[in-house]
Symmetry: C2
Subunit: 153 residues, 2 copies
């Protein structure tokens, strides 16, 4: 156990909010805010009304981080958390929610990859321009999709 964990008779392995903030890389503020938003299942309080966590909450916050990172909104995460709180009766719903998210992430990766191709083409265009010393010819496709308006119209 972390030497900084405040002593308490709540439980021998109990974690307080400062502990999971440090271990999850979030601020104490954010963790309390997540709880207020309904994103923290299974948080109990000790005699002094302090929040008590377990190691599972680190894993949970890690999952939340990845879902947030991949564009899941707080609202959607709340829906998911509600299902988790309801227990095993909601397994299929949870699976469906994650599968929806999976499809969205796959679509986003495809979009980003496509956008990356345009950036690649732009960079190549600048390289040519620098090498030739004059603006290279652009294909009609590129002209239609990527050419900025002239400096002065």
């Amino acid at each position: 156990m972390d030497a900084r964990t405040p002593p308490s008779r709540a439980a021998p392995g109990a974690l307080y909010i400062g502990d999971i903030a440090r271990r999850s890389g979030r601020s104490v503020h954010t963790i309390r805010w997540y709880e207020a938003q309904g994103l923290m299942p299974g948080v109990v309080r000790d005699r002094g009304r302090r929040r008590v966590y377990s190691d599972d909450h680190i894993g949970w916050l890690d999952l939340v981080e990845r879902l947030r990172l991949t564009g899941m909104s707080i609202r959607q995460l709340r829906e998911y958390t509600v299902l988790v709180k309801q227990g095993s009766a909601t397994l299929r719903k949870r699976r469906a929610l994650l599968a929806d998210h999976q499809r969205r992430v796959q679509a986003m990766i495809a979009k980003w990859t496509e956008a990356l191709a345009l950036v690649d083409a732009k960079i190549e265009f600048y390289d040519e321009w620098v090498a030739k010393g004059s603006r290279p010819a652009v294909s009609a496709q590129q002209r239609a999709r990527a050419r900025p308006p002239a400096t002065r119209p």
Copy 2:
């Protein structure tokens, strides 16, 4: 030319803000806001102070859309636009800015792909749970990274 283009003696091929809003899929508000943010090079006005655009602005807005979509902030886009406005002296800087962005996008795609693997594993886990009727064993790795806290602690 679009039949809806308002007639004007400004120029035969001139586009007004409503035209490029329709053709770029943005709102008139957004285009004016982009201009206020310094993201619209080469916009001139006609006698009646109306903004006049060219086809190039459609291509520009398309580039802007892709850069925004891939996470470039308005602030960074403004920097890029400033360089575009300054003409060919800033070619190397523009290339460097885009190359930075390219690296960020590549890193993001890698992160998303990694996060997707966790979601995949989660879905598989739920499938097993549903199939077996009881919570499957989780590897220590998965437990540490992805297991939500129990419904009741």
